[in-house]
Symmetry: C2
Subunit: 255 residues, 2 copies
């Protein structure tokens, strides 16, 4: 009976994977003007299709300017509509910097954020003098060489289950700031360095502060051993700068 009262009989839950270039947006989460956020854009299109307000939940609340290669979101519709039909509708109405790359029905209780087991973020840092025309929107142009060996030592100390309060931009954070940072891989490419972060969850701006701190190690402004003190100190000002959003991409969400 409860189902009937809340009117969710025959409703359908959907899971979708989304790609976006975040350059033009205020981030994933809608705030005020819904046209400025990825969530708002997708909700507007879905609500237009459904003819009633549809809310979506994303796995990761990417900041303004951060991109996604594989963001995941879920939403309910009051009646089942063929998944591919929804995907085509959305892609028809969404701007060309947002693309729903897949959409499927999901179990009734599937929740993109709460069910996520691991998230993978990639931060690309341009390390030579080139402005890199074709990559400029998705790479942070540092323009300096980095000491990768020192960065790998520091990354080794940051990996694992720690209290990451020093790497959290939310100073009033009341919930636990303990996270399991399963891996930080550092890939050296021709004109850039890529930092790949894997973890069960990330605090507000945690990836960008980790990246900024590792860059400072790579520039020899800090020694790798400092990482232990930063973690133990549990104060934002102990860690490094917040790396710019443009280099960061949410790559994958694992369930």
């Amino acid at each position: 009976m409860a189902y009937l009262i809340y009117g969710i009989i025959d409703s359908m839950n959907y899971k979708m994977m989304i790609q976006y270039e975040g350059t033009r947006y205020s981030g994933w989460q809608k705030q005020g003007n819904t046209q400025n956020s990825i969530q708002g854009r997708i909700e507007n299109a879905l609500s237009r299709m459904a003819d009633y307000p549809v809310e979506i939940h994303g796995a990761g609340r990417t900041d303004a300017g951060v991109h996604a290669y594989g963001q995941v979101a879920d939403f309910h519709l009051q009646e089942g509509i063929e998944a591919e039909e929804i995907r085509e509708y959305l892609n028809h109405y969404l701007p060309d910097d947002i693309d729903v790359i897949s959409l499927e029905t999901a179990k009734e209780r599937f929740h993109s954020r709460l069910n996520a087991k691991e998230k993978v973020y990639c931060c690309r840092i341009g390390t030579d003098a080139y402005k890199q025309v074709f990559e400029r929107k998705c790479r942070y142009h540092l323009g300096q060489k980095l000491d990768v060996k020192a960065m790998r030592l520091a990354a080794g100390l940051l990996k694992g289950k720690h209290d990451f309060r020093s790497f959290c931009a939310n100073r009033q954070m009341k919930k636990s700031t303990v996270r399991n940072l399963r891996d930080i891989e550092i890939q050296v490419e021709e004109h850039e360095i890529r930092l790949i972060f894997r973890g069960d969850g990330f605090l507000y701006q945690m990836v960008r502060i980790l990246t900024g701190t590792l860059i400072e190690v790579g520039l020899k402004k800090r020694v790798p051993e400092e990482m232990t003190n930063i973690l133990e100190g549990r104060q934002r000002q102990l860690a490094g700068f917040t790396a710019p959003a443009q280099g960061l991409t949410l790559m994958q969400v694992m369930y």
Copy 2:
């Protein structure tokens, strides 16, 4: 004495390599509003540095919306300035979708276009349903599968020294339309097909008309054998459509 009269004693010739995303521009060549063309933008910056009008000559006159990974251009300055200093000045004043990736002194008589021995163009065609957010500015989104085997047969017939009048958008072309198209390579990638054209020179929109014609073969709207008739007919209307500019990039100029 002639040198003194024309005032080119101590002048210096320079060669530069330029990368640009052509999306925002009316093409390489300046016409009217110089701010709309790549050439105009670079000339404005150079003239500002030199304090007198400086003209540059590009190897390829890319169309509106066409990109360059390695465009080459040359220019004279009345007095020798250190090459790296010029490059830094230009990159400081140029917008972030144009980048001078190298700049060096050149022989007095070096001319980017006249001395070019071979040019390489790449045309990227998206062949699946994805909108491809991160590649959308540099790939033509066709969204259909192509018969690559048929395209390779057609490409084989187009290769070589031919009169390419049927593949030239300039109907009043009075000069020779014979060109040596040394190779058309067709690469199959995950979400796209790449056509790589190598030749001693290309007519106006030749690469885009070749691409459009090969796409029509790939879509089975034409049979490969037609290529011979198109070449022999020497009429633009015999060939296929002009593929959109956004997928095309001038990759390299060889001397």
